[in-house]
């Protein structure tokens, strides 16, 4: 039973890693939002499998929280935001996709090496996946650095946070409930603030859209 569960969780981890790479090379904003939602779904499934194996109700609660927040609410806000800002169809020009992906692969190798000494201590059935989780964190980080648009940076930020939740589930069967709730609340509030932020920017610099901010960031 545990063998099967471990394989399923490993499979889900692999999907997460693939999604991170897909995000790194995805140029359309709308597709990025879809990828983010998919990432949330994977996270929910991983939590459910882990909850089933360990018989820990807290992981089910965590799965429910993830479902509401990261598959429902946040993608919905992102989608509305993109529609209101009229950037759903936008295509972002990316620098040299092959080079970005190659750097991503290097990051994955680094992450695996960093996590290697730690994974042997993890008690969970999913211990092999800590390296993948760290790799996803680094890939999201890289996405935030390479993107110029505000909304893609936000999605990078959110996917980094997803990867961290996966790390918590994989390494320790999830953090204590109060911490997970707090983190979830912080992320949601942060998301809302960013939404307000982008609207304000648009009001202020109407003709410039949010590119204005992007241009400023290059300084």
């Amino acid at each position: 039973m545990h063998g099967l569960a471990t394989q399923i969780v490993n499979f889900l981890a692999a999907i997460l890693l693939l999604i991170s790479f897909a995000m790194l090379s995805q140029r359309r904003i709308l597709a990025l939002i879809h990828l983010y939602t998919l990432q949330g779904v994977t996270l929910v499934l991983a939590n459910l499998v882990l909850g089933f194996v360990t018989d820990d109700t807290h992981l089910y609660v965590s799965a429910a929280l993830t479902l509401v927040l990261k598959v429902g609410l946040i993608p919905w806000i992102l989608y509305r935001l993109a529609r209101h800002l009229r950037i759903t169809g936008d295509v972002e020009s990316l620098l040299n996709i092959p080079a970005t992906l190659l750097t991503g692969i290097v990051l994955v190798v680094v992450a695996f090496n960093v996590a290697l000494p730690v994974t042997q201590f993890a008690a969970s059935v999913a211990r092999g996946t800590l390296g993948i989780a760290l790799a996803c964190v680094l890939l999201s980080f890289m996405m935030m650095i390479t993107r110029a648009k505000a909304i893609s940076q936000v999605i990078g930020f959110l996917s980094m946070e997803n990867a961290l939740f996966f790390a918590a589930a994989a390494a320790t069967n999830g953090m204590p409930m109060i911490v997970e709730l707090g983190v979830g609340l912080d992320v949601l509030v942060g998301m809302l603030i960013l939404g307000v932020f982008m609207f304000q920017i648009r009001q202020q610099f109407d003709s410039l859209d949010i590119h204005h901010l992007a241009e400023h960031q290059d300084e």
């Binding site: 940076q153 109060i178 603030i193 932020f197 960031q217």
Partner: protein, 486 residues
């Protein structure tokens, strides 16, 4: 009254204040209300301090919160500077409102978020849970991010965005570190206890060194971003320069200290688990680099608030360096430096805020001849600057002197580097401030009397601490140092 009620008041008052001011924040009395609530919070905090110092460390509300000499020291400092900043913000924000820079909505936002920010910092200091500490640190950023962009200029959006994203990324690293810490702890502690600071401290020697060393690196990078350690510092000058000046004062005087508090708590745990001095060496390295880079960045500054925010990076680096050195003298000096830096830097921001309003600009070149128009603000700025640059007899001199002497003993090669940094900082900042204070006047009069009481109270305390440290404070610092020695 028992500790539970007092602690509930310390944390509850800012929340209530935030809720009230979210509605009444635009009224004429709002700034006074703001100051009154801050005073109540200070009173509650002082009661908590008095009890802790009398009865020693202890838990409050089960194991959810705990107090010891180290965290109540910062609670007292936070509540005190929170109150004096509220006093300063009375005339400052009235001027901003009359000049049309703050609308009614923005005043409500400002007042409500000010208290939420104070609440988040107090929660971070008092909680016994490493996870809640993380949540509170992030909440402190969220509370201030909209304030940094409150003037809605392109530069302020840029600053707020940087602040949010960089601190968000940093704090995400800290979350990963916390997860690793939990992983290490769950092998020796039960699930409910594994993130409690007190349980972790008790069991620190049996935590696995491999995991803890990795966890500490992530925690240091994460919380270090908020401390403003180089190279994660680039959000700090922008966030300080673009927001309203009271926010610059509390960011510099308080938030950086609270972030350093988080780093130090992690260091105590890591020291216990590793037993090899690595955490201390990392702090020394980051601290030294921050001091040097910040000092040499001073040359390029043309904005008065940015100038002093780079000086904050320098001083935070100095404290990090001191705590990294370890040992009773350096730790004592670090704690003293935390106190005097918080007081004097916020006093400087108060005077810079008034000066910028008088001159109508924050540019150093635009502020001239302060002593002619308003001698008190001018002298306040000059004295504050001399104090922060480490001139005797102010407290910064005492703490920097102690840091330098212990550097000579334990790390002789670093001492000349620090001396050079201090000399350069002195030359650059003093030259700028001299021009702002003396020379032909460009300033105009303000409609409201500037709040000078906070400035001179802060400077007076900084002066007293440089001349004489009372026995009870000495004992308090030593007790806090003992907590840090583990």
């Amino acid at each position: 009254m028992n500790s539970a009620w007092i602690l509930a008041a310390v944390l509850g008052l800012p929340l209530v204040a935030s809720a009230c001011l979210a509605f009444a924040g635009a009224r004429r009395v709002a700034p006074d209300l703001n100051a009154a609530f801050s005073l109540l919070t200070l009173a509650a905090a002082l009661l908590l301090v008095q009890r802790t110092l009398a009865h020693g460390a202890g838990f409050v509300f089960g194991h959810a919160f705990f107090v010891d000499p180290f965290n109540v020291f910062l609670v007292a400092l936070t509540a005190f500077v929170g109150w004096t900043t509220a006093l300063f913000s009375k005339p400052y924000m009235r001027v901003e409102r009359d000049r049309g820079r703050m609308s009614a909505n923005r005043m409500r936002l400002y007042h409500a978020m000010y208290h939420l920010f104070v609440f988040a910092m107090l929660l971070a200091l008092l909680t016994n849970n490493m996870g809640v500490l993380w949540v509170a640190m992030e909440a402190a950023t969220l509370a201030t991010v909209l304030l940094v962009s409150v003037y809605r200029t392109a530069a302020s959006y840029d600053a707020a965005w940087k602040y949010f994203i960089l601190c968000g990324v940093g704090i995400a690293q800290a979350l990963f570190g916390t997860i690793l810490l939990y992983l290490a702890a769950s092998r020796v502690l039960s699930d409910g206890d594994a993130l409690l600071l007190t349980s972790l401290t008790a069991a620190k020697a049996s935590l696995d060194p491999t995991i803890v060393s990795l966890a500490f690196v992530f925690l240091l990078i994460g919380y270090g971003t908020k401390v403003g350690l180089v190279p994660m510092h680039s959000w700090l000058p922008d966030a300080h320069a673009e927001g309203p000046t009271p926010i610059s004062a509390v960011l510099s005087g308080l938030l950086l200290n609270v972030a350093l508090y988080a780093v130090l708590r992690c260091k105590v745990l890591a020291d216990g688990a590793l037993q090899n001095g690595l955490p201390g060496r990392l702090l020394v390295g980051f601290g030294l680099v921050s001091v040097l880079v910040a000092t040499f960045s001073l040359f390029r500054q043309t904005d008065a608030k940015r100038l002093f925010s780079f000086s904050s990076i320098e001083h935070m680096g100095m404290m990090t360096f001191a705590f990294g050195l370890g040992g009773p003298v350096a730790t004592f000096a670090g704690l003293l430096h935390m106190t005097v830096h918080a007081l004097i830097k916020s006093a400087i921001f108060f005077t810079v805020g008034h000066a910028a309003q008088k001159a109508g600009t924050q540019a150093i070149d635009g502020i001239r001849g302060l002593v002619r128009v308003s001698p008190v603000v001018g002298w306040g700025m000059l004295l504050g600057t001399l104090a922060i640059l480490g001139m005797p007899p102010f407290g910064v001199f005492a703490s920097e002197f102690l840091i330098l002497t212990s550097t000579m003993h334990t790390l002789p090669w670093a001492a000349p580097l620090l001396m050079v940094a201090l000399a350069v900082a002195f030359a650059v900042i003093f030259r700028h401030v001299q021009h702002m204070v003396f020379g032909e006047a460009t300033a105009r009069r303000l409609e409201y009397r500037p709040a000078l009481l906070p400035v001179f109270v802060h400077l007076a305390i900084g002066l007293v601490l440089g001349l004489y440290i009372p026995a009870w404070l000495d004992a308090w610092y030593r007790a806090a140092g003992a907590v840090l020695a583990g």
